[in-house]
Symmetry: C2
């Protein structure tokens, strides 16, 4: 049967229009032609009987064994020891926009900790009318909000600055996830404590040994930040900050403090390690940019890509990827097959939502020749995703963080893809 599947002969009909039309046609060719019902029915019967009786579901269902490669991965040489670690979302194998918690990237500086709800406390102190400590049950008594947001590590794609050319979207762009959060507005809790007029910042820290303290301007803290209990409906995974984490929409992931323990209202920024020696961007002249919190508009083609090669010959091909912006909604994504000479408008699976992932598609008729695939995102502020070289011209080569440059995949005639740079 498999041999019969291989594209033999051209399409007999053209129901669909445009690129998809040619596509559908060729797919029809690729699909087996039924020479009368008998061979088909026979195969169906063999197959049905071969499946036989099945099994029951488990109380908490895991992915089927055939998908065991769709997991978070680390870059072996990236971290010195396993206690200061990171892993990447397998975005090359996912579709849609929601990231399941089980394969959502995760970064910790002193390990993920097991914190019981009964032991959990959240303190608000500093420049407030009254210092407060909340239990988990206290937090559950405040009005809740639900919203889908992306969380991207500032170092996502960082190794590409100097041209590491890691071979897969999971490794170049996998330090991102997109989940539906449920929790309490940080504004609600700060208002409860009463912020004094001289309060201009909040310093947030976690209960892990690193504490990962970060300073956030009061304006942002009173805007759209959440103290989240749940992601995609269920409790946060241990490594995502159970029982609560801070959600700082559109801003770099390091500020999304996990195992949230304390919120101190201060007059000035604390200038902690995580916002001075780390998470600052050193320019060519040696001066470092700081307070680079917002994640710039960015996109990447997730398939085809090095980990998701084309498995068929010429004809219809679905090109897909993700786009996002920390400044609002994605308004458009362009895709090029020839390294930027010609751009086509991609189809957004749904209108862009502010500070959340947007899925895009481009359905083409692949001629079977090599392609230099790129995607370019545009957000509601009018900002357009730059090339890597445009970024380097402005920021030099010392940077690690905030690389939102356009990614190139060299897709060869045999369907395999490589991470390359073109000038």
């Amino acid at each position: 049967m498999t041999t019969k599947q291989k594209g033999n002969g051209a399409s007999r009909r053209q129901f669909l229009t445009g690129a998809a039309a040619a596509g559908a046609g060729a797919v029809a060719a690729a699909a087996a032609k039924a020479s009368g019902p008998d061979p088909l029915i026979t195969e169906m019967q063999d197959w049905a009987s071969s499946t036989g009786a099945g099994v029951d579901a488990t109380p908490y269902g895991m992915p089927i064994q055939f998908e065991s490669d769709v997991v978070r991965r680390n870059v072996e040489w990236l971290t010195a020891d396993t206690i200061s670690s990171i892993n990447f979302t397998p975005i090359h194998a996912l579709d849609g926009t929601i990231t399941p918690q089980g394969c959502a990237f995760e970064r910790h500086h002193s390990g993920a900790i097991e914190l019981r709800k009964e032991d959990y406390r959240l303190m608000i102190n500093g420049l407030v009318d009254q210092e407060l400590v909340f239990t988990y049950n206290d937090l559950e008594r405040f009005p809740r909000e639900n919203r889908v947001y992306f969380c991207e590590c500032a170092a996502n794609t960082g190794m590409e600055w100097a041209g590491a050319q890691l071979n897969g979207a999971q490794f170049t762009h996998g330090m991102i996830h997109n989940m539906e959060y449920s929790g309490v507005s940080l504004r609600t809790l700060l208002n409860e404590a009463g912020v004094k007029p001289e309060g201009k910042w909040v310093y947030v820290e976690g209960a892990d040994a690193s504490s990962n303290g970060r300073s956030i301007p009061l304006e942002k803290a009173l805007d759209d930040c959440l103290v989240a209990f749940k992601a995609n409906g269920e409790a946060l995974r241990m490594e995502h900050g159970y029982p609560t984490r801070l959600v700082v929409p559109g801003w770099e992931g390091n500020m999304w403090v996990k195992w949230l323990r304390r919120i101190e209202v201060t007059e000035v920024a604390v200038e902690s390690r995580e916002e001075t020696s780390k998470y600052t961007d050193t320019l060519a002249n040696g001066i470092s940019r700081k307070w680079t919190w917002e994640m710039d508009a960015k996109s990447v083609v997730t398939s085809p890509s090095p980990q998701a090669p084309i498995k068929h010959g010429p004809g219809p091909l679905v090109i897909t990827g993700l786009a996002w912006s920390g400044r609002g909604a994605i308004t458009g994504v362009d895709v090029t097959l020839d390294g930027g000479k010609n751009w086509q408008k991609a189809r957004l699976a749904a209108p862009g939502q502010s500070k959340a992932l947007t899925r895009f598609y481009l359905d083409i008729e692949w001629n079977g020749e090599e392609m230099f695939l790129q995607s370019r995102a545009r957000d509601e502020t009018g900002y357009v995703q730059p090339t890597k070289n445009q970024l380097r011209e402005v920021r030099g080569l010392n940077s690690i963080y905030h690389n939102n440059g356009i990614q190139t995949w060299w897709v060869k005639a045999n369907g395999e893809a490589e991470n390359v740079e073109i000038s």
Copy 2:
């Protein structure tokens, strides 16, 4: 410290307005008052050291051990054997709208089967210009769509017709989930085969031993149905139909055929077992309603509920639940504390989306007295969720399917809740 947490004294401030204001106040009281920073800081230090160094995340992250009760459950006496089984989503413990695949309800008639993508075939036959068989790779070459839809079993809440009064929202309303699906429009595949003018229905069947064949009017098949590969971004779990399942938005879950194997275009409905002896609604006069595909507007309070009792005294209380309609978007949800004498407008976490779950909240100041909690949904067609007795008056007591009657939780002064009926 824990004793210090217990509500001592009234709120010192009223930042928030309305019910939330009183709520916030009482929560402030419940939270510990800081008598100088020392005791707090001391506790924080003990606690930070007690957490110590953590561990790394696993390639595929499972829920933390403390959440081991948030799993799918069966009603022991419900099914005769384990090969014809069902399990329920723990909606009492979830928030937001997305259901994680791992705890999403699942029903199968002959067990869940393990089907490899390489072995998978989808046949389209019957009244078409050309019969076709697609491999999984063929399907991936057609244009894809993404959309969030709820899937509810027609038998959800069915045992309440005769007043089973199962003690928990998981058991009364847990045969539902809500996921973001990615796949190919069924319309695209039918157009590829070419539906003949005399084709008026499609008969869809799965690859499991039950085949679970169902007839679907061609209008619906050409409207919004999907052949889905993925749910919430990742491959379908085995028990959800890996590698593909049919998505029939707004219609009863039994039609969402899993392990989708064949789509036959027919002139008339097949009248299979699953749409005659099963999934029809026998009225008081013995006549059965058939083709009752659409799921009527419905809602339920998920917390507080029998499995999610109130764990605190009088004061701020978050009442939350889910609402949905197979006919379009939810436009409003009302909640009553006194069994229907007085209704209050609940807050929708986001505007209702067509054929998807909507999360609602009502933030109240609980007086500590017993409540008879109910919720009532309204959809964009103007339809209002009826009481159980209104349903019984029209359909009698023989029905099993399509019970969308208003649910009552008797919440006692001690915070515990029971499933009751009030006339």
